[in-house]
């Protein structure tokens, strides 16, 4: 029995009248990669964005149900989302580094969280970049604009930025889909490294990617989870016909 890092219970997301996510209950094991797959519009990204309450930003979105981290239901309105989001990092489809230097991109979060000591910050920047496999490429130009990096480098910088505030969970929303194949492969490699330290939930369109990087996979369809199982099982011997149809490319 593995440790459960995060679990949802009857989680639903409504946009106005439309229910985008329908009463999903899932457990996410710690230090594992869980992939969420499904055709576009199936609610997987919406589901992911409710895990760190990012959907709060969207006017008219309403989230019901429970999200448990340890003993806290973070979907409780009383939850301090600012503290919550420190524990859950996020990486988006398109790299979105701040319009600041490479160093500042990473130091920005930790400094806000109270680390003022320059040496300590330097150390965090270095460690985060090493973990994100970006240190070798950037150590001589930390003060240059983050926008000078290539797309793949920017995406790794965004990963470094999110691990710099030492979260326990990292949410990734199709992190490699806007990148070229080589950068994409690097990100996948990186994910496999990172799972030693972080619990990762990744939304992906690319089923091969899901098969390569994840331990568990959930198949989403029309706002519901059709099947949730070990990745190896789900891709070789799905128990639901719709899953079979999807992974064998019959729709989506």
């Amino acid at each position: 029995m593995q440790n459960i890092e995060l679990s949802t219970k009857d989680l639903s997301v409504f946009y106005g009248e439309k229910q985008a996510v329908k009463e999903i209950s899932l457990d996410f094991a710690s230090r594992q990669v869980t992939a969420l797959i499904g055709p576009s519009g199936c609610g997987k990204s919406t589901f992911l964005r409710s895990l760190n309450r990012m959907n709060d930003l969207i006017g008219g979105a309403r989230i019901t149900g429970e999200i448990w981290i340890g003993d806290d239901n973070i979907n409780d309105p009383k939850t301090d989302v600012v503290l919550l989001r420190q524990k859950i990092g996020m990486v988006w489809q398109r790299p979105n580094p701040f319009h600041k230097s490479i160093y500042e991109n990473i130091a920005f979060g930790p400094r806000y969280h109270g680390i003022r000591d320059k040496k300590k910050l330097d150390q965090i920047v270095e460690e985060s970049l090493i973990k994100a496999a970006l240190w070798e490429e950037t150590k001589d130009r930390l003060n240059r604009s983050a926008l000078s990096l290539s797309g793949g480098q920017q995406q790794r910088l965004c990963i470094a930025r999110s691990i710099a505030v030492s979260p326990s969970i990292i949410l990734m929303d199709e992190p490699a889909s806007a990148l070229d194949p080589i950068s994409s492969a690097k990100i996948e490699e990186l994910i496999s490294e990172l799972k030693r330290e972080f619990s990762i939930i990744i939304v992906t369109h690319n089923m091969h990617q899901a098969a390569r990087v994840s331990e568990k996979t959930a198949f989403f369809l029309m706002g519901e989870v059709v099947e949730y199982d070990d990745t190896s099982k789900l891709f070789t011997n799905p128990s639901d016909k719709r899953t079979d149809d999807y992974i064998s490319g019959r729709f989506g």
Binding site: D80, V82, L83, H113, G114
Partner: protein
């Protein structure tokens, strides 16, 4: 140790969040309170001539004689109302074809040349202070009218001319935006059917953008209606209904500008001037209402 840092942190960011919310809310509350008090004070002062001084609505809106010092004093504001409407409508009538042509030129005929030179120049024109327009009107337009038409050159024609130049930039930039926002497929469809440029403009482009173009015209007119000094300098300021466009006249704004400083706060004449300001304010509401209506049409 870690616990206490966590706790301090907690407090700190809540205070920070609170500061931001309170500061920005205070700003918006101040803005809203200002607007309400503006409306409240202009309305109460404006109504006091009817309520306190017992002047009838009919006298102000129907009276054609303005003799505040006469015996008995007469407060007919019709000359000012007519002056305001005729100058601003005339200004819009002059400026509308010019500005729509300029916009068509910039968007449809020579986009490169237009965008590079005409647009910055028009933006600059928008920044020129209204007293400068008044001054130019007084030193160029008024003498010009004096030479070719009977009279002193001062009057509604001069006022409308000055205002039309003043509102050109507003109208042009709105018309330009409206034309530029047109989906390209619309025009291409028309050209594909073998229509000439003018046929495309007249049958497709202008009808589709008409509400937006009208918005520009109404906004320009609203600006002309509320402009004070540029008009006051060239209109002549005689408080009667002129028989020609080249005869001295007055507007609501010019009457306020000229007399407000010479009357005592609370006197009957002063209160009537506030009533003129109230008319200006109500017209502003109407203009905003029309603009909103047109915008809704344009967005459909």
């Amino acid at each position: 140790m870690a616990q206490s840092r966590e706790k301090r942190k907690l407090k700190q960011h809540i205070i920070e969040e609170w500061t931001g919310k309170v500061f920005t809310s205070l700003c918006i509350v101040l803005l809203v309170v200002t607007i309400f008090s503006l409306v409240y004070f202009v309305a109460t002062k404006g109504f006091s001539s009817f309520i306190k001084d017992g002047i009838s609505l009919g006298e102000i809106f129907g009276g054609i004689k303005w003799k505040p010092e006469g015996e008995p004093p007469l407060f007919g504001a019709l000359p000012f109302i007519i002056g305001s409407f005729s100058t601003s409508i005339l200004a819009a009538v002059i400026a509308a074809p010019l500005s729509i042509s300029a916009a068509l030129f910039m968007v449809e005929i020579m986009p490169k040349l237009g965008r590079k030179y005409l647009q910055p120049a028009i933006e600059l024109l928008a920044g020129i202070p209204s007293v400068v327009y008044g001054f130019v009107g007084l030193s160029v337009i008024v003498p010009f009218y004096r030479d070719i038409f009977p009279g002193q050159g001062l009057g509604i024609a001069a006022g409308a001319s000055v205002l039309s130049i003043m509102i050109l930039p507003t109208m042009t930039s709105i018309a330009t935006d409206a034309l530029a926002a047109l989906p390209p497929g619309l025009k291409e469809g028309s050209y594909a059917l073998g229509a000439t440029r003018w046929q495309t403009l007249a049958r497709t482009v202008i009808p589709t953008t008409l509400p937006a173009l009208m918005t520009g015209v109404v906004l320009g007119m609203a600006r002309a209606f509320g402009e004070a000094l540029a008009v006051q300098m060239v209109i002549g300021n005689a408080p009667h209904i002129p028989k020609s466009l080249f005869e001295s006249a007055s507007t609501l704004t010019s009457a306020i500008t000229l007399s407000m400083g010479n009357t005592v706060m609370g006197s009957v004449q002063n209160n009537v001037l506030w009533t003129l300001a109230l008319i200006l304010m109500l017209m502003t509401f109407i203009f905003v209402f029309i603009v909103r209506f047109l915008e809704r049409r344009a967005n459909r």
